[in-house]
């Protein structure tokens, strides 16, 4: 199963969901609205099965390898998308979020699948929860990033009186803001829990907590914490979107450069 047939079928489902979402965006009354969540759901089921097979082949959790980690990230994005869709009932965000699910899943299938031997203490249910929550947080922050971009686009269109197709289809600024807040709240809760679990375990099994990955995770949590705190105090508008984008920059740096080159304990390759 190294070809990951099920994984590629999931990518196909996500691509079809993207096509349905675009049709729904262009013609909101096309009656295809139900197809997008249905296809994402089907993709997630196939994707989950592929992750299971991958875990069996590794005889370990699927995120032990870079490919597995990215693939799980894609799966979490799919789950987060469905939650966002069901919670806010805004179909218009689909075409902008689904490509991330599609690309990360495909990336996970193409990236190396051979894992290094597990580091000390990186096993067990608590470790699995720590990693899963961490990846869920990154998925939520990814959507926060996309929603922030959409916010800035809609804000720009409003200020420039550009009332074209995209303007009429994108949700109101207030709605995008609310969705962004949901994403950041979910992400921050997940990241904080992941950090607490990780730090608790690391303090037992490691001699030092001085790992760049931990530092970046703490900084990321602080940035998003600041964002939520400022929002609660009435801070709104493009500045929130920009801070959210900066936060995502940290997430990406932490997930790529730090994971691959800087961290010793959090290395997937």
């Amino acid at each position: 199963m190294s070809f990951h047939l099920l994984g590629w079928l999931a990518v196909l489902c996500y691509a079809a969901a993207e096509a349905a979402a675009i049709v729904s965006l262009v013609s909101p009354r096309s009656r295809l609205a139900w197809l997008t969540p249905a296809l994402i759901g089907a993709g997630l089921a196939l994707h989950f099965r592929d992750l299971l097979l991958r875990a069996r082949a590794l005889n370990s959790v699927p995120y032990r390898t870079l490919g597995g980690s990215v693939s799980l990230f894609g799966w979490m994005l799919g789950i987060a998308f469905l939650v966002l869709l069901l919670r806010h009932r805004e179909q218009a965000i689909g075409p902008f979020l689904i490509p991330f699910i599609m690309l990360t899943t495909a990336g996970g299938l193409l990236l190396p699948d051979a894992g290094s031997p597990p580091a000390e203490g990186t096993h067990g249910a608590l470790f699995a929860l720590h990693v899963t929550l961490g990846i869920l947080a990154y998925a939520a922050f990814t959507f926060s990033f996309v929603l922030s971009i959409l916010y800035l686009i809609q804000d720009r269109q409003l200020r420039r009186r550009q009332t074209g197709l995209l303007f009429s289809r994108l949700p109101a600024l207030e709605v995008i803001s609310r969705m962004n807040r949901t994403s950041v709240t979910v992400g921050l809760c997940a990241l904080t829990c992941s950090l607490v679990i990780g730090l608790a375990r690391a303090s037992v099994i490691w001699t030092t907590l001085a790992d760049p990955k931990i530092t970046f995770a703490v900084v990321t949590a602080m940035v998003y914490g600041l964002l939520l705190w400022k929002q609660r105090r009435g801070w709104q508008g493009p500045k929130v979107a920009i801070l959210s984008i900066l936060g995502f920059g940290l997430v990406m740096f932490s997930y790529t450069i730090v994971n691959v080159y800087l961290s010793r304990a959090h290395r997937f390759r």
Binding site: L158, R159, R161, T163, S168, P171, A172, L173, Q236
Partner: protein
């Protein structure tokens, strides 16, 4: 179609393209006058069915006629009734027959013939026209079907194209922009400055759109109170405007003040009090009610008349681009009606009836041994011919075109000839 069907569709109308306002005013029919008008045009035997579409920009009489020259007689009747010179009435009128008459109605229902392209109100007016005609017992199968078809086509055009999507009126555009900032406006606070014509229009529109928290500020307290009471809003005393500003999410300027009534400094102060929550300013006044530069403030969205007119022009262009798609839908729906109407002719119906009987005969003959079939065929044909003779004679000799259509439709329905 005329060659096939004995009855003819007719349209005689006056609209903003063909007639001057003075003529349109004389031939305009109110809802109360329409039953009388329908009675008059049918009493003279000019039409056997009739429907009158009356809007602020058009008076159109649709009818089923069975004799030549009906349009001239109708024009004469209307001009005499409304005290209008015949020549003047005829010069401002337009006339369509059969498919062209039906096509015109379908275009009217879709808003393609309206001054504001794609406007939705006219669809309701076409529906009302049919209802009034039905209540006056002035419609039968043909116009009923034609109007139902037009309404269905109008609905399809509005749902399948963007022709009615982009607003054209200045207040509607303002509303759309505010909705794109706040989403649902029903729970937002809307402050209208001025209780004049524009202020009243906007406040009524906002109230109709479901805004619950409407506040009116007007220099003349009495006038402000009157408007606030009418829309179930609250009055903000003019001298307390600065205090009311931070509570408002949407502020609409409609006063006749020569000086701006809301300064940039006042908005800055309001934004500080709102802790940066967005504000939306819509300036419908001339000269402007809001000081220039308000829109540059953080999280403040401000639009003036020029901005809205620019958007209206762009929206008009967008609607125009949808016309070919709308026309294609109309032709599709029109073809359905014309196909049905064409089938109402006597000859195709009788031919169809004979074919149906022959089909039944052949099906029964197939169950009989081959050697005996010819004998039974002659027997069956003889019965069918005798059975059909009288109904065919009666259908052909019917002189009332509408009654003939009703009967033809009944035959087609009973024998399922349209299957």
């Amino acid at each position: 179609m005329n060659g096939v069907s004995e009855a003819k569709l007719l349209l005689l109308g006056w609209n903003f393209r063909t007639a001057a306002m003075a003529v349109r005013e004389r031939v305009a029919f109110s809802s109360e006058e329409i039953p009388e008008a329908l009675e008059r045009i049918r009493a003279d035997g000019l039409v056997t069915e009739g429907v009158i579409v009356a809007t602020c920009n058009r008076s159109e009489i649709y009818g089923v006629v069975e004799r030549e020259g009906a349009s001239e007689s109708l024009t004469r009747l209307i001009s005499e009734w409304r005290g209008l010179d015949f020549g003047e009435a005829a010069a401002g009128s337009f006339y369509r027959e059969d498919a062209e008459a039906a096509r015109h109605l379908f275009r009217v229902a879709a808003g393609l013939d309206s001054l504001a392209l794609g406007e939705s109100e006219v669809l309701g007016q076409v529906r009302t026209a049919l209802r009034l005609a039905r209540e006056a017992r002035a419609t039968r199968a043909v116009l009923h079907r034609m109007f139902e078809g037009a309404v269905a086509a109008g609905k399809r055009v509005r749902t399948e194209t963007e022709i009615a999507r982009h607003p054209l009126s200045v207040p509607s555009i303002g509303f759309e922009l505010a909705t794109k900032v706040f989403g649902d406006l029903s729970e937002r606070t809307i402050l209208v400055l001025g209780a004049g014509e524009t202020g009243t229009l906007f406040a009524e529109q906002a109230s109709g759109a479901g805004a619950h928290d409407l506040r009116i500020a007007n220099r003349s307290r009495a006038r402000g109170e009157e408007l606030a009471a009418r829309i179930r809003g609250k009055l903000v005393p003019w001298e307390e405007l600065a205090r009311a500003l931070p509570e408002a999410d949407v502020v609409v300027g409609t006063t006749a003040s020569p000086e701006p009534v809301v300064t940039k400094a006042a908005v800055e102060a309001a934004m500080r009090e709102r802790r940066g929550r967005p504000m939306f300013f819509l300036d419908l006044a001339m000269p402007r009610d809001f000081e220039a530069g308000i829109g540059d403030l953080y999280n403040v969205y401000a639009y003036g008349l020029d901005d809205l007119r620019e958007v209206a022009e762009e929206n008009r262009r967008r609607r125009s681009r949808e016309v070919p798609r709308a026309e294609a839908i109309l032709e599709e729906e029109l073809a359905k009606f014309l196909g049905w109407f064409g089938n109402l002719a006597v000859i195709p119906t009788l031919t169809g009836l004979q074919a149906r009987l022959a089909q039944l005969r052949d099906a029964e003959l197939a169950r009989i041994p081959e050697g005996e079939r010819e004998r039974y065929r002659a027997f069956a044909d003889s019965i069918a011919a005798k059975l059909l003779h009288e109904p065919m004679r009666r259908l052909k000799s019917e002189t009332d075109a509408s009654r003939k259509l009703d009967r033809v439709e009944a035959v087609r329905h009973l024998f399922d000839l349209d299957a």
